[in-house]
Amino acid sequence: MPTTEARLDFPAGGAEIRAHGDWTLTGIATLEQRLAAMPWPTAAALTLDASAIAAMDTAGAWLLRHILNLLNGTGHRVSLHGLRAAHSALLQMIEAAPPAPARPPAPPGLLAAVGRNVWRGLTQGAAMLTFIGENTLAALTLLRHPKRIRWRAVLHNLQNDGFNALPITGLLAFLMGIVIAYQGAEQLRRYGANIFVVDLVGLSMLRELGPLLTAIIVAGRSGSAYAAQIGTMQVTEEIDAMQTIGIAPLDLLVLPKVIALMIALPLLTVFADILGVLGGMVMAQSQLGVGHLEFITRFASAVKLSSYLVGIGKAPVFAFIIAIVGCFQGFQVRGGADSVGRQTTISVVQAIFLVIVADALFSILFSWLKI
């Protein structure tokens, strides 16, 4: 049935107000918006004739109550007439309900917000250290009882986070090799130093880009998955259930991931190194006329074994960072879906950030050690 709008009429000069129409959620919108600009009668004693109200729901009843309170509060005395029994019951029910909605606490000022954020950052850092400590202890216990290592979970993670990541890692590394060789080609050709494309591609790929690129892909691919998985399990109380059954969540959820990723990431890095150099080789021939055989011969003398090992050596550290950060952020989830999304985002950003910081520290360390 069509709704007729709720209305208030003021018959000329009288002390009477007449209510019409459907005082329902769909009917009261206009009236509610115009309430502030109503030409209320000035007489002290008013009557409100509600006999023409066709329909009423709780929203309408609340509005009527609001109007009565408004008029009574501005020095009028209002008497209500003609309200139907059913509507009157609704009005009474609304009156029984406490009117003032509780206000959420006011947002903190700038200083308080800064303080809170600093404090949150510090406690997060401390919690992360605690988490690493707990995991180290759990890992040491496992080392003494190697039979208790969850090899099935380790293998599952190896396949998911290592083997299944081969295509995307390989493709991106290949493209990266192409880009480096292509960018370098222009400069090298100018000096007639075409052959040095091997040094360029080989060193940059093996020392820096291979490990870093792989770590970033894995952080986006697996780190986020860890955070989302553990976070959702936290929401559905699966972590609690695990503890009740007597399975340590760290043993089942965290350590297998850390172990698997520390194995998988170096291997992925080797794969990325190979395909990256391959990309550079393809470009070297087509842009600079450096043949494949020539490239490989030069490669052996241009790139020392230490460069390769330095790159591969960084990978387990990156893997540790990615797995620990992802799992830690998963355990930080509180509440529901919203929190899972937030912590997953944080886990990826934090993992990539820490990986790059670690890479920078490695560079300093290696130049200090003259490797």
Partner: protein, 259 residues
């Protein structure tokens, strides 16, 4: 008011792969009654509810709600119908990123042109109607106990003053005291707001205390429909088991004592 049934289900069939969930089920819910769908777990009562509220399409048959055919409606055509009913889901399904008051206010914000202050006030009224203290409004769902979460979900379900209210397992997971309070709340709301209520439950106490009529589902069929007294006299092994199992008997005796 017209006497046409609020919900009419005719010859409804549902299958999940090979499993037949509903095999030609027909039932009708009259205006102003509390109608319950009962039966053992997995008998398809929640699926029937989901089909009525347009969340799951049946294989064949017809469902009419408020006299409108609901089969094959587009989202735009379904909206006016959806606004006329409220649904309380089994696990509350409150939005975890919103406070209780925002959860209750959300349908109002979406579907009405009312001012924010008015919506806040109205949300507070609904929260009070659902039997929650005003302080619950500013809390997030995960800060509430299970019973309070159900009440908050109920407050959201009645936010738009629906004519028809669907409650999916409203008392599941509540302690007896809270469940008893919920029975009272449902009766109270029906009386005050003139609602038609469809409850999906296997809580025998709730069935005896609040349901006007009950439809018993089992083996994909409608085993029986009627008042609890009438159902308890039907001679069918599944119904018999349901009513005269140890828990069924206790609930029945309770209801007799009350009368």
């Amino acid at each position: 008011m017209d006497n046409a049934p609020v919900i009419e289900v005719r010859d409804l069939c549902t299958r999940f792969g090979e499993a037949v969930v509903h095999d030609h089920i027909s039932l009708a819910v009259q205006r102003g009654e509390i109608f319950a769908l009962a039966g053992a777990s997995g008998c398809g009562k929640s699926t029937l509810l989901r089909e009525i509220i347009l969340l799951h399409p049946p294989i064949s048959g017809a469902i009419r709600v408020f006299g409108h055919n609901t089969m094959g409606l587009s989202a735009a055509e379904a909206l006016p119908l959806r606004r006329r009913w409220g649904v309380m889901f089994e696990r509350g399904a409150l939005f975890t990123s919103l406070t209780v008051a925002e959860n209750v206010g959300l349908p109002l914000r979406e579907h009405t042109a009312l001012r924010t202050e008015f919506i806040d006030a109205l949300a507070a009224v609904k929260i009070a109607l659902a039997g929650l203290p005003p302080s619950a409004g500013v809390k997030y769902p995960n800060e509430l106990s299970g019973g309070m979460r159900k009440r908050a979900a109920l407050a959201r379900a009645i936010a738009l003053d629906p004519e028809l209210l669907f409650l999916d397992e409203p008392t599941a997971g509540l302690d007896p005291l809270s469940a008893g309070g919920f029975d009272q709340l449902v009766l109270h709301l029906k009386e005050r707001l003139g609602l038609t209520i469809m409850i999906v439950t296997h809580d025998l106490d709730l069935l005896w205390r609040v349901a006007d009529r009950v439809a018993m589902l089992g083996e994909g069929k409608l085993l029986g429909i009627g008042t609890m007294d009438a159902l308890s006299r039907i001679d069918h092994p599944l119904i018999h088991e349901y009513f005269y199992g140890p828990r069924g008997r206790a609930a029945r005796e309770q209801s007799w004592k009350r009368k």
